[in-house]
């Protein structure tokens, strides 16, 4: 069991993001993640002054699946259709690192103990910690938007039983995993939705705002998806470079070990420099990953959520138009007019409600996005500068030492 706990300064950065909305009535953060075999348990910590909670403070352990369950229940709730439902975090990918660890185990015989320990530590730092960090950050932003909803005019989440259970219940939730049928159902639903999206795209938009939003989101979504993929590639190759530094340092040390001329000293010094460079470069790469790639990744999904909202609204619009037609027909035939009228009225109501909340949601979404981009870009830039300065001073020192030799 590996405990993933971060150094405190990093921690603060993330925790702060939760109560950004300066509402102290409900503060949620995830200070810790525990890695237990193939499960990762996140500690969800809640502080609240809301009367609907029985206690002012909770601390529960939740797994990835629990978060998915929460997401699904929220999506399925009709009431929330007019909201941008925060996307569920992606399943943390522990497979890659685990595979690497496995390989490490195999290659153990050919490595010295120190090398093995170093590699293991490096792996943990590089992959598992960031993963926990990333997951946590996503969850916190998710909680944050949930908390946003709380403060907005709809006190829906406050009333949401499932959400409260999620936060309060101090035992394992033991959410039922989706079975194969449901999985297939979900897949089928997605198919239908995509087909439906195509169909209703023909429906003439009545509201210019939504027309604009739709175009923007479609465009933006494809762009951000692309940017995310490219950023991922970039950070990955940056990590490779850092890895290479590490290998070079190791190879230099090996060379030095078998040498006993004046060369040895140079080699050792050189290996040391590369080892230090590796750390800086690694930090640079993972901060870039965290601040830039994760930002893009999150907003790729968030924009999908916004698109889903638009879809739901467009669906409602189509329903309304259909009900209009049905009413016309009923009037022509002269039967079931009252029922059709009722139906048409309901559809209109739903559509209006969705439009109204959708407009609000999308506007706030835009503001949120800009704030998030700003924050992350500034943080990333500052970190880049910090790391670059570190390596500059490191390099300068090393050059001095080498020159004096």
């Amino acid at each position: 069991m590996t405990s993933i706990s971060e150094d405190s300064d990093k921690e603060k950065v993330h925790s702060v993001s939760v109560d950004l909305n300066n509402d102290s009535s409900l503060v949620i953060d995830i200070p810790d993640a525990l890695c237990e075999r193939d499960k990762v348990k996140f500690t969800v910590h809640t502080k609240t002054t809301l009367s609907s909670f029985q206690k002012p403070e909770y601390s529960v352990q939740r797994q990835h699946e629990d978060f998915i369950w929460l997401h699904d229940t929220i999506v399925e709730t009709e009431e929330y259709a007019g909201l941008i439902i925060p996307p569920a975090p992606p399943k943390p990918d522990f497979e890659g690192p685990r595979e690497k660890m496995h390989k490490l185990g195999e290659g153990e015989s050919s490595m010295t103990k120190e090398e093995y320990a170093k590699m293991k530590q490096e792996l943990e730092q590089q992959h598992i910690f960031p993963l926990g960090r990333v997951h946590r950050e996503q969850l916190t932003s998710r909680m944050k938007s949930a908390a946003d909803q709380q403060t907005s005019s709809h006190p829906m989440f406050r009333k949401d039983r499932n959400f409260q259970i999620f936060l309060e219940y101090d035992q394992d939730l033991t959410v039922r995993r989706k079975n194969a049928k449901e999985m297939f159902g979900g897949f089928f639903k997605n198919m239908v939705k995509s087909a439906d999206e195509v169909l209703i795209s023909g429906v003439k938009e009545v509201d210019e705002f939504f027309e604009q939003e739709k175009n923007f989101l479609l465009d933006y979504s494809s762009k951000i998806k692309d940017a995310t993929a490219k950023a991922e590639k970039m950070t990955r190759s940056h990590k490779n470079v850092a890895d290479d530094y590490n290998h070079i340092s190791g190879a230099l040390n090996n060379t030095a070990a078998d040498n006993n001329t004046a060369f040895k000293k140079h080699l050792e010094k050189c290996a040391e420099v590369f080892e230090k460079l590796r750390k800086v470069e690694d930090r640079m790469a993972s901060d870039q990953e965290l601040k830039l790639t994760e930002l893009l990744r999150y907003y790729t999904r968030d924009i999908q959520a916004a698109k889903d909202l638009l879809y739901r609204r467009a669906r409602a619009l189509a329903d309304y138009e259909n009900s209009n037609k049905a009413l016309d027909k009923a009037r022509l035939k002269g039967k079931d007019v009252a029922q059709a009228e009722e139906n048409q009225k309901q559809c209109l109501q739903k559509f209006d409600k969705l439009s109204e909340s959708g407009k609000k949601e999308l506007t706030s979404f835009k503001a949120r996005r800009v704030v998030a981009f700003r924050k992350n870009l500034i943080e990333m830039t500052e970190l880049e500068i910090k790391h670059a300065k570190n390596s500059v001073s490191l390099l300068q020192g090393s050059i001095e030492i080498l020159k004096s030799n």
Binding site: D226, M234, I248, F263, R374, S391, L395
Partner: protein, 713 residues
Amino acid sequence: MSLCHFYPSLVIKFFRVCVCVCVELKMAASSERSPPPFPDSEEPELLEDSDEGADAFTGTSISEMDSPSPDSTRPPKDIFNEPPEDIFSDPLSNINSEPQKKVDAKIPSPSSDEAVDLFSDPLDDDSEVMSSPEVQNPMPDLLNEPVEAPKSDVLGEPPVHRDAARQQDVFEDPPKSSSKSSSVKKAASSEMFGDDDDDEDLFKEPPKVVTKKPQPSGPPVDVFTEVKSDVKVKPQVKDDPTDLFAEEALTAPAPKPSAGSSSSRTNGVHSEEQDLFSEATVELSLDSPRNDRKNKDAVKPSVSAPAAPVASSSSKAPSKTLKELEEEESEDKFDLNISITNPEKVGDGMNAYMAYKVSTQTSLTMFRSKTFTVRRRFSDFLGLFEKLSEKHSQNGYLIPPPPEKSILGMTKVKVGKEDPSSAEFVERRRAALERYLQRVVSHPSLLQDPDVREFLEKEELPRAVSTQALSGAGFLKMLNKATDAVSKMTIKMNEQDVWFDEKIQDVENEEQHLRKLHVMVESLVNHRKELSGNTAVFAKSVAMLGSSEDNTALSRALSQLAEVEDRIEQLHQEQASNDFFTFSELLADYIRLLGAVRGCFDQRMKAWQRWQDAENMLQKKREAEAKLLWANKPDKLQQAKDEITEWEAKVTQYEREFERISATVRKEVIRFDKEKARDFNRQVIKYLESLLHSQQQLIKYWDAFLPEAKAIV
């Protein structure tokens, strides 16, 4: 040198057996044929003490002394063969070990001579001995045979003596020389070198015989006491200086590449020959005190003409070598800058080639002017390497290897596509050639080579033909390499020199490690190139995202970010090429150079093998002779003796060659190690500076971006 005495000892043994007890004959004969394998542990340093004892016993003990002597002589010799610096750093030990070795080597020979003389007593005079050579008397007389044998042995043993020996002998023994020198000289001139020496020594021996005769003679015991007596030390000491001198004289001219020698002397910088020469003189100077002393003590009358030049040259030697040392130290500061620029494609199609401008800037007087420029093509560089390695590699010099041929890379260039990979190829080759030339000229001995100078100075070079990869010559070379590799595997050298033993291991390990390191650095280069490419793609993507963004400030910031990433991409690209040119190529160079170092070791091994083969051959010849002797076939005996003489000369020559090559290789490797450490440090600093520059640029870029990010509203 050691085994040369083997024969006399056998003879002595044989004789003793003959003269004393006939009954013992069989036993003795059997022991001759298969001389006991002598354990190495046998102390060679017993020498002076054991002389009496050993000699008193029988010939066997002498032979015992002789056979292990390769072992015993080598260590001191190695010490002595170390580069001049070392000699200077601890002259004491050298002085100690050096004379020891000499005494070692010498003592047996006079003693055997005397033994011979003793036995040749019945033969009445020198003239007979003199006339005896080769053809003359196939006398069945046992006594006469041995006389001849030792003669040739002693003489064959130092092919070194040559002129010096001759002169000295002539000097020392005027009475005899006057009468015989003419005949001897005739013989000398008519005969081969080795035989030539024989005569000289023949000539030298007789006088000794004469001097000894009056002394109590007969029983072997006396012979050995004689050796110890002062009178006897005399010839021995005399031998020493001559030998030394001869050695010096020999070693100096021997490796002289005929063309280079004369001009090199006149050059400002000291030459390879001078090096060798100085080495020889150093050795001399170390010996000389002792020699001088000995001379004064024992040989007062014979401190003769040849001794004087020896002394004088030895006194001059240290100061000269000191100066040379300083020169060697300041070698890397020497004023010779070579740069290769302007790679230019000449011709079209498959006959096209790249010509490089080789510019030299120097203040060395050996060159005609201070700056000059020539155009050379790649095969010229290869040709230079071929010439140099032909001339110098068998001497154990470390010839810097040129960059490898690359048919693929060159074909690309020939086809003439102006793509970045062929430009990179040309630049890579240009840089590699530049480093190659710089390494060549920074080698003190190679710089003196006329071919190097010609390469740098001469307008037109004859086209190097044998360097084409696909030519017949190339094929032959490959074949040679293959046979070399096979023969290398078959040679089982039992390394007795700890230094070489360790160094060979070290070099192999280092090469392996460097290969691994090189792979890592190559992967760094690739990954950084990848990173550069990915950054460029990301920059484009971010720019697109920025254009779609409807918040103006954010849109602006994103396009700024795209610009920053674009610059960073450039930075990564530059860094990748720095990774490659300063780091990866450095390692590639050293992997090649370590290969060349191993080549030096191989050359040394080959020399050793040659020596061992000669020893074995000599052994066989001796056995054959012993058989003949036993079978009493005098007609073939003479021929066998000649062969033995010939092979003894060869053995000595090869041993000397081996020792010389060992010394050279050792010096070269030490020089290489020193250079490597310095060069590596320099390159690493350069590389780190390039990294530093990248990071500084990075700070600048991000610093510029920060206000943009903050401006997002």
